[in-house]
C-alpha cells in the first residue's frame, strides 16, 4: 500500500480552480432523526476527496442528497456554478455526476457491454446498433486497462472486475464528478491497488472524485483532502497530508484526548488472578472471507476481554464467529483446549457460549412478548421444546433476575416492547444469564441507554467476571472498555491489529494510537 506522503502530491499546490460541487447548509431529516444538520461540502476538479465518519455519521446520506436520491429539507447544492436540485440519479448523471456504489449495482444477467452502455447505446434509426455499441464499450474498457470480452456475461467476472466495469459505466457519460461509495469493501489488497491506479488516472484527467471508505490506510493512500462528518454534522475539511491519523480518528469519534483522559479516573478493577492455565475459549486463526481476517483470541474464565475499534472495524463480525452465527472458513475454536465445531448458535449454546446482539430490537427482544416470556426464552430453548419449564421454576428465575438486575417496572407481565432501552437490555441479559453461560459475549450492551442503567450494566459485568464467567465486551466507548476489561483486543479494518493487557498505565490515548496506526504488526 502507498504511504501518505507520496499520495498527496496530486493536489498539494494551491487551488486557483473553482470547486465543481459546493453544498452549503445541507439539512435532511428522517422521521425522528436529523440525518444531516447544516453540512457544508465542496469538491474540486482533479482531486480525490475522502468523506470520513463512523457508521451513521451521514456519509451515505450526504451522497444521496447530492445525487437526488433524497430531497434535502434545507441548503443549497451548486454544481458548476449553477444551483441544482436533482430528482434522481438519472438527472445527476445528466450533468456529469456518476456514482459507483458499495454493492456493485449492475445487472449480472446482461453482458459487460450492455452494463456499460445501457441507456447510452449507439442507435441508428431508433434501433440499437450492437456492433458500434460493443466497440464503444470496448474503448471504455481499454481506458480502464481492462481487457475483457464485452460480450461476456457480467456474472462470469470477479467482483473487482465488476467494480471496474461499474466505473467504466460511470465514465460513459463523461462524468466530471465520480462518487465511489465504499468501492473497496469486498476487494483484496491487489485489487484495491488496481482500482487506485484507475482512480489516479481519472483524477489526472481532471475528474473530481469523492471517495468513501472505512479503511484509513486507503484514505491516506489515495485522497488529497478529506471532510469529516460526525452524527450528521460537519467536523471539518482538512488536507490529508496535514492531518495525522490520530487526530483523524479523534475527530471521527468526537472526543479530544484530554477529555478522554479525564474519564480515566474511574475506578479500576484489579486484574483477576488467572485461576486456569488454559483459556476457556481459544480462537486460532479464525476468520471468514469478506467478513474478518483470521485472528487469534484467548478468553479465560473470570476475565473480561474488551473489543475496541471503530464502528465497522469487525468487532461484531468477530463475535458472530465465536457464537457460530456466521460460519468461519478459516481456523478453529477450542473450548477448554478441545477442538469444538461451533457452526451454529445452537452448538455455541450447548457449550455455554451466549451472544447478546447489538441490534437489541431486531435480534434480541421479542417486543410483543412479556418480560417473563422474554427471559425464559433462552432457558426453554436450552431444555428443548418438549420439556416445559414449570411455572414455579419460571417465576423463581424471572423474579430473581428482575430483582438482581433492577428491571423496572418489576412486573413480569409487562410487554417487553414498552420498556425503556436500558431495561430491555437488562431483560436480554437476564435471558442469557438464566442459561448460566460460561462465556457471555456482549455487543454494545450500553448503546442508547441512560447513564444510570449503563453504570448498572457495567457493574453487573464486573461482578459476573469476578464470579468466574468469561466475558467478551464490545463497545464503541473506549473509556467503558478500558474501565471493565482485563485485556483489550484492538480491531481495525476488519482485522485484529493488536492486544494489550489493561494494567493501570494504559490510557485511551494508547488505544486510539493503536487504532490509528494499525498496531505493532503493521
Amino acid at each position: 500500500m502507498m504511504t501518505a506522503t507520496n499520495a498527496s502530491s496530486g493536489a498539494s499546490d494551491e487551488k486557483p480552480v473553482q470547486p465543481i460541487v459546493v453544498m452549503t447548509g445541507i439539512t435532511l431529516s428522517f422521521p425522528g432523526v436529523k440525518a444531516l444538520d447544516g453540512v457544508d461540502f465542496r469538491l474540486f476538479p482533479g482531486e480525490v476527496h475522502a468523506l470520513m465518519g463512523e457508521n451513521g455519521a451521514g456519509k451515505s446520506t450526504l451522497i444521496k442528497a447530492l445525487t437526488g436520491v433524497y430531497t434535502i429539507d434545507d441548503g443549497r447544492i451548486v454544481v458548476d456554478g449553477q444551483e441544482r436540485s436533482f430528482s434522481g440519479p438519472a438527472q445527476a448523471q445528466d450533468v456529469g455526476i456518476s456514482t459507483v456504489y458499495q454493492e456493485v449495482n449492475l445487472c449480472d444477467n446482461l453482458s459487460v457491454a450492455e452494463n456499460i452502455m445501457l441507456g447510452h447505446e449507439v442507435r441508428r434509426a431508433g434501433m440499437v446498433d450492437w456492433r458500434s455499441t460493443r466497440r464503444r464499450a470496448a474503448e471504455h474498457l481499454r481506458t480502464m486497462n481492462l481487457d475483457i470480452d464485452p460480450r461476456s456475461s457480467l456474472d462470469s467476472h470477479s467482483l473487482a472486475v465488476q467494480q471496474l466495469v461499474a466505473i467504466s459505466r460511470a465514465m460513459v457519460v463523461d462524468a466530471r464528478v465520480l462518487i465511489l461509495d465504499e468501492p473497496t469493501s469486498s476487494l483484496d489488497a491487489e485489487e484495491v491497488a488496481r482500482l487506485f491506479d484507475v482512480v489516479r488516472s481519472l483524477r489526472d484527467r481532471g475528474v473530481a472524485i469523492l471517495f468513501v471508505s472505512h479503511f484509513l490506510d486507503q484514505v491516506y493512500a489515495i485522497s488529497d483532502r478529506l471532510t469529516v462528518l460526525r452524527n450528521g454534522t460537519l467536523v471539518g475539511e482538512y488536507r490529508t497530508s496535514e492531518l495525522p491519523r490520530v487526530e483523524l480518528v479523534q475527530k471521527m469519534i468526537g472526543r479530544e484526548l484530554a477529555v478522554l483522559e479525564k474519564l480515566e479516573e474511574a475506578p479500576k478493577r484489579s486484574v483477576a488472578e488467572r485461576s486456569d492455565t488454559q483459556p476457556f475459549v481459544q480462537a486460532i486463526g479464525l476468520g471468514r472471507k469478506g467478513s474478518i481476517e483470521p485472528f487469534d483470541l484467548d478468553v479465560y474464565s473470570g476475565e473480561v476481554v474488551g473489543l475496541a475499534g471503530l464502528l465497522g472495524s469487525g468487532r461484531t463480525e468477530l463475535a458472530r464467529l465465536l457464537y457460530g452465527a456466521d460460519r468461519a472458513d478459516h481456523g478453529e475454536i477450542r473450548v477448554h483446549g478441545e477442538p469444538a465445531r461451533i457452526r451454529t448458535p445452537r452448538s455455541a449454546l450447548a457449550r455455554g457460549i451466549v451472544y447478546s446482539s447489538e441490534s437489541r430490537k431486531t435480534e434480541g427482544i421479542v417486543g410483543d412478548l412479556t418480560v417473563r416470556e422474554n427471559i425464559t426464552l433462552g432457558l426453554q430453548a436450552e431444555r428443548g421444546w418438549l420439556r416445559r419449564v414449570s411455572r414455579r421454576k419460571t417465576d423463581e428465575v424471572v423474579d430473581g433476575y428482575i430483582k438482581a438486575l433492577g428491571i423496572r417496572p418489576a412486573n413480569p407481565d409487562a410487554v417487553a416492547g414498552n420498556l425503556s432501552g436500558g431495561n430491555q437490555q437488562k431483560v436480554l441479559l437476564a435471558r442469557w444469564l438464566a442459561t448460566q453461560p460460561k462465556l457471555l459475549i456482549l455487543d454494545e450492551p450500553t448503546r442508547g441507554i441512560d447513564v444510570g442503567a449503563k453504570a448498572e450494566i457495567q457493574r453487573l459485568v464486573a461482578e459476573l467476571a469476578s464470579d468466574g464467567m468469561a466475558v467478551v465486551f464490545i463497545s464503541a466507548e473506549l473509556e467503558e472498555v478500558l474501565r471493565l476489561s482485563h485485556r483489550i483486543a484492538v480491531m481495525r479494518d476488519r482485522r485484529k491489529v493488536g492486544e494489550i493487557a489493561n494494567d493501570d498505565d494504559v490510557t485511551t490515548d494508547d488505544v486510539v494510537h493503536l487504532i490509528a496506526s494499525g498496531g505493532p504488526e503493521v
Partner: protein
C-alpha cells in the same frame, strides 16, 4: 482466478480458458435449449407413432389454432422478463371478444370495432401498470383484480353467446394462403407472427427492450443506473394488455362468437408457455421466440393426444403440469449453480 491477473497491467478474464470457453454454452441459453430439445423429442415421438403427423397441415394447425395464445404469450413474456406476472390476460381476451361481438351486432363497422377491441386491452393494461407503479401494488394482486373486473364486464356486455357475422371477420376466418404445398397460413397466423417479430425487435434492438431485461436482472440497479424504470414497468403491462386485446380479436376470428366464458384459465396457459419457453419467472432472462416454442409445445401435446384418440383430453393437463415442473426445477438448478 481474476485476482492473479489484476497484478498484470491488463486484466483479461476471458482469455484464460479459451478452449473451454468456446464449447461452453452461455447459461442464458440453457433453458431455451431445453425447450428446443423438448420440441424435437415431441416431433420425433409424434412422427414415429402417427404417419401423417409431420405434415404441413398438422403443423400449420398447431400454429393457427393457437395464434391467440402466441400473442398472449408474447405480451406475458414482456411482463415476466421484468419479474412481474399478468393474471388478467385470459379475462381481457374474453372482454375484447365480447366487446367486438357486441359492437358488430349493434351495427358498428370493422374499421371502428377492431381498434376499439384492442384499445380495451390497452386501457386495462395501462390501469394495471399505473396501479403497480403508483400504489406499488403487487403485480399478482393488481392483475388478479383486473382479471375479476374484466371477467365481470364480459357478463355485462355479453350475457349470452353472441354470434359474429361481420363480413371482415368471416373473411379473415375463411382465408387460407397456401405456402409450400400442404402448408397453409391464415391471416390470424400472419398477425401472430407479425406480433412476434415486432416483439423480438423491440426486446433486442430498442432501449426500452434492454431496460426490460435490466429491470428483471435488478430493479434497484436499473434505477441507480438512471434507466426509466417507472415508465418501462407501466409499459410492459400496457403491452401485455394490448396483446390480450389483439388475442381477443384473433379468438373472435377463430370462434366467430363472443362469449363471456371464453378463455377461462388461458392466462395460465400463457404463463406455462412462457416458462416452458425458457423464461425465468424471476425475470431478466428469456426470449420471445422461446415463448412461441412454448406455445407450440403445448399445441403438440394436445395434437398428440388427439391423434392417440383413447386418452381423455385431461391428459394434456397432466403432461403440461409435468413439463412445467421439470422446467421450474431446471430454472432453480441454474439459479443455484450461478450463486
Amino acid at each position: 482466478m481474476a485476482t492473479d491477473q489484476l497484478t498484470s497491467p491488463t486484466v483479461s478474464d476471458s482469455s484464460t480458458t479459451p478452449s473451454r470457453r468456446r464449447f461452453r454454452i452461455d447459461d442464458r441459453y440453457i433453458p431455451v435449449l431445453g425447450t428446443v430439445i423438448v420440441l424435437v423429442v415431441m416431433l420425433a415421438i409424434g412422427g414415429n407413432l402417427y404417419d401423417n403427423f409431420l405434415t404441413g397441415r398438422v403443423m400449420a394447425n398447431v400454429l393457427i389454432n393457437n395464434s391467440f395464445l402466441v400473442v398472449l404469450a408474447v405480451g406475458m413474456t414482456f411482463v415476466i422478463l421484468t419479474g412481474g406476472i399478468d393474471l388478467s390476460v385470459g379475462a381481457v381476451l374474453a372482454l375484447s371478444t365480447c366487446v367486438s361481438a357486441w359492437m358488430f351486432t349493434h351495427g358498428w363497422s370493422a374499421a371502428i370495432t377492431i381498434p376499439v377491441a384492442i384499445l380495451v386491452g390497452t386501457l386495462i393494461g395501462l390501469a394495471v401498470g399505473l396501479m403497480i407503479h403508483v400504489f406499488e401494488v403487487q403485480p399478482f394482486i393488481a392483475t388478479l383484480a383486473a382479471m375479476f373486473l374484466a371477467r365481470g364486464l364480459c357478463y355485462i356486455v355479453a350475457p349470452e353467446s353472441i354470434p359474429i357475422e361481420d363480413p371482415t371477420i368471416v373473411a379473415l376466418s375463411t382465408t387460407h394462403w397456401p405456402l409450400f404445398g400442404t402448408f397453409d397460413i391464415t391471416p390470424s397466423g400472419v398477425i401472430a407472427l407479425a406480433v412476434v417479430l415486432i416483439a423480438f425487435v423491440t426486446l433486442h434492438y430498442t432501449r426500452f427492450g434492454r431496460t426490460v431485461y435490466a429491470i428483471g436482472g435488478s430493479e434497484q440497479s436499473a434505477r441507480l443506473m438512471g434507466l426509466p424504470v417507472a415508465r418501462t414497468k407501466v409499459l410492459v403491462y400496457v403491452i401485455s394488455g394490448t396483446c390480450a386485446g389483439i388475442g381477443g380479436l384473433l379468438f373472435a376470428v377463430f370462434s366467430r362468437s363472443g362469449y363471456s366464458l371464453t378463455g377461462v384459465g388461458m392466462e395460465l396457459d400463457a404463463i406455462a408457455a412462457v416458462v416452458i419457453g425458457g423464461t425465468l419467472l424471476t425475470g431478466g432472462s428469456g426470449f420471445v421466440l422461446g415463448s412461441v416454442m412454448g406455445v407450440v409445445v403445448l399445441g403438440l401435446i394436445q395434437t398428440i393426444i388427439t391423434f392417440q384418440g383413447t386418452l381423455s383430453s385431461w391428459w394434456t393437463k397432466i403432461f403440461i403440469g409435468a413439463l412445467l415442473l421439470v422446467f421450474v426445477v431446471l430454472q432453480r438448478i441454474l439459479a443455484i449453480r450461478r450463486r
